[in-house]
């Protein structure tokens, strides 16, 4: 089955088509994930990235296959963007054995090491120092791999953010700190509780880093600015921090209708929706409406197929309960 990973750009146009396909697939996946929640197939919680797809697609397109992604609980899009097929991700949300982690992690912990997706972390800020460790390992072994840590605007006020930035700067680690500033924490506006206007970019200078702000709803802009950061990291020039301005179209998590957000703010950002924006760019570049429609129905069919494949999975049983606490595969703590 196909996936949403962008192939290396053969031509500018092929690259743009792939970039659109990736964003559209992420959107349709999230829409389906929401439907499956309403149908009670998806239990627990989930945090959708609807509205923020240009970031996941744009950054992933700039990555080498052996680079590492460290995401948050809002991690479906980042997982898929690394090339993880949809079916195991749907199945993970449904708690099935054909899930990415056989149902043991759930929506907030999507991980696929073989795709460089090194985990989704649900304690705010924790993965920033962890990404530093992966970057350290790349530096030590001289592999030129780069670690990317995604986090929200609200995550810039926790200690581990600041510890990780200083640590990465003094060790000159090949790590990219990528802030998806969607203006909101859960239900609080980040600017109400943050000392500076740009929660990530305005802190960069404290760690000797350049202040970088990008339109997070423009996948090409994200791709360009991130590609430059990868080049710096691979050249041994150390970490970068990028703040992308974006917006989540829905609530914080599945149960949140997001009513606290002013109508005009929502309207303003809906008008900047990255998907129709990029679609228009394709048309401008000479891609035909028919071609785009064909691509979109292909993606929709992929989502349908993946949904069915996921639903067909088994419910996990006791054999998984005590599996893999330890490296030996078991859970035994005594002899």
């Amino acid at each position: 089955m196909s996936n949403t990973k962008i192939a290396p750009a053969n031509s500018d146009l092929a690259h743009k088509i792939a970039m659109y396909r990736s964003q559209f697939a992420l959107r349709q996946f999230e829409n389906r994930a929401y439907d499956l929640f309403l149908e009670n197939f998806v239990k627990g919680t989930s945090h959708l990235a609807i509205g923020q797809e240009a970031i996941a697609a744009g950054v992933a397109a700039a990555m080498r296959p052996d680079d590492w992604t460290f995401a948050t609980y809002r991690g479906h899009a980042h997982t898929l963007a690394r090339g993880v097929p949809m079916a195991p991700v749907f199945a993970e949300l449904m708690g099935r054995t054909n899930g990415l982690m056989a149902g043991k992690g759930g929506s907030m912990h999507l991980t696929s090491v073989e795709h460089g997706m090194m985990g989704s972390y649900a304690v705010i800020g924790a993965h920033l120092p962890i990404a530093c460790g992966a970057a350290w390992s790349a530096q030590y072994r001289g592999t030129e791999q780069v670690a990317v840590a995604f986090f929200g605007d609200g995550s810039t006020n926790i200690g581990s953010f600041h510890e990780a930035l200083n640590f990465a700067a003094v060790w000159k680690l090949p790590v990219i700190f990528f802030c998806e500033n969607n203006l909101w924490m859960e239900y609080t506006r980040t600017s109400d509780v943050t000392a500076v206007a740009n929660p990530a970019a305005d802190r960069a200078s404290a760690y000797g880093l350049e202040s970088i702000i990008v339109d997070g709803n423009d996948a090409d802009a994200v791709f360009d600015v991130t590609s430059a950061a990868f080049a710096r990291a691979r050249a041994g020039e150390g970490p970068s921090m990028i703040e992308a301005k974006t917006y989540r179209h829905g609530g914080h998590s599945r149960a949140d209708p997001g009513k606290y957000r002013p109508d005009d703010e929502l309207a303003e950002w809906m008008a900047k929706d990255p998907i129709p924006r990029y679609r228009a760019r394709l048309l401008d570049a000479g891609v035909s409406e028919e071609e785009i429609l064909a691509l979109e129905s292909e993606v929709d069919a992929e989502v349908d197929l993946a949904t069915e494949e996921a639903k067909a999975g088994d419910v996990p049983g006791e054999d998984l309960l005590l599996k893999d606490v330890w490296a030996d595969g078991g859970a035994s703590w005594r002899n």
């Binding site: 590492w68 043991k104 924790a126 120092p129 992966a134 990780a164 640590f167 330890w326 595969g329 035994s332």
Partner: protein, 325 residues
């Protein structure tokens, strides 16, 4: 054969593993040029260089986060948390990230790392630099917990911890750092999850850990002179726990006394007592008794600290009283 202090054995154990395996690296505050605040890493920077032995900022989350990220991508880091009380500022990385991630990912990642830390009281440092926190670590699924009691075990258990593919919390009793022992030359590799019977007796079994082991041994000598013949077990590893040895030796004497430095509630001895009560209740000839630090933050004054932490005298009188009642 050489006489080594406990602190010299730490550096010796680490050096042994760093010579063997290029992927072993060391990080922490003051571990490099200074050789560690407790001098546990003296000579390592000189031998292995600044790429493998790295001083860090005072950023415990960054230290352990970096160890975790490095471990999941091919290195075998040894990280130092200077005083084990400071685990409280980076416990998320330990208890939520390192401990849970292998399980959550259905086994996609492993964490071959060691976190060493100076643990426990006896140095009159006051409550924030003296707690015995082995029970914090023991209660978290996904962490192995090792607590050596002498210089020889330090080397072998350090080697075993480094070679183990799971995260190991390696707690060094600060009060033992200057204790000495003859240690054979050459590589020493021990086994995690193996308790040691240090003395065989017939009347009671004392089960001790870390700094309490030498005290239990001394108490056993005094008790023997008073007609109470004790077995002494050095637990050495709380996870995995060598219940086979403990159950066998407790069943043989019919009495269990745990000797624990940790504050009373949920100390490791409570788990040992529960296992013994569950599994060999009918082999017991009397109540299980736990000898622990009271459930208090440790005081700084030497007179008060000595009252708090189980002493040889307290062990002797507690055992005598219980055996004679």
């Amino acid at each position: 054969m050489a006489q080594l202090t406990f602190r010299e054995s730490i550096a010796r154990g680490i050096a042994q593993e760093m010579r063997r395996d290029e992927s072993v690296v060391l990080l922490g505050e003051d571990v490099g040029a200074a050789g560690g605040v407790f001098k546990g890493t003296v000579g390592l920077l000189e031998e292995f260089g600044g790429v493998r032995v790295r001083d860090t900022p005072i950023s415990e989350q960054a230290i352990l986060g970096a160890a975790m990220g490095a471990a999941m991508t091919g290195l075998r880091p040894i990280a130092e948390i200077m005083f084990s009380d400071f685990f409280a500022v980076c416990w998320d990385i330990v208890a939520n990230e390192i401990a849970k991630s292998r399980y959550m990912t259905n086994g996609q990642v492993t964490f071959p790392l060691v976190i060493r830390s100076g643990n426990g009281g006896g140095l009159r440092f006051g409550a924030q630099h003296s707690q015995s926190v082995e029970n914090w670590a023991m209660m978290v699924p996904g962490l192995k917990v090792v607590v050596p009691s002498n210089a020889l075990d330090v080397i072998g258990l350090m080697a075993a911890a480094v070679r183990d593919d799971d995260p190991v919390i390696f707690l060094e009793a600060k009060v033992l750092y200057s204790s000495k022992m003859d240690v054979p030359d050459g590589d020493i590799v021990d086994t995690l999850g193996s308790a040691k019977v240090l003395r065989e007796g017939s009347n009671a079994t004392l089960v001790a850990l870390g700094s309490m082991v030498p005290r239990a041994l001394e108490a056993a000598s005094e008790l023997a002179a008073n007609g109470i013949d004790c077995t002494v077990i050095d637990v050495r590893s709380l996870v995995p726990l060598d219940t086979t040895t403990i159950l066998r030796e407790v069943a043989a004497t019919g009495r269990l006394f745990t000797v624990e430095e940790n504050p009373r509630l949920c100390g490791w001895g409570a788990e040992v007592a529960s296992i013994v009560a569950d599994e060999i209740f009918y082999d017991l000839d009397g109540p299980i008794v736990r000898i622990t630090t009271p459930h208090i933050p440790l005081p700084a004054a030497d007179a008060l600290e000595d009252l708090a932490i189980p002493s040889v005298e307290r062990i002797v009188t507690t055992v005598q009283k219980s055996m004679n009642s």
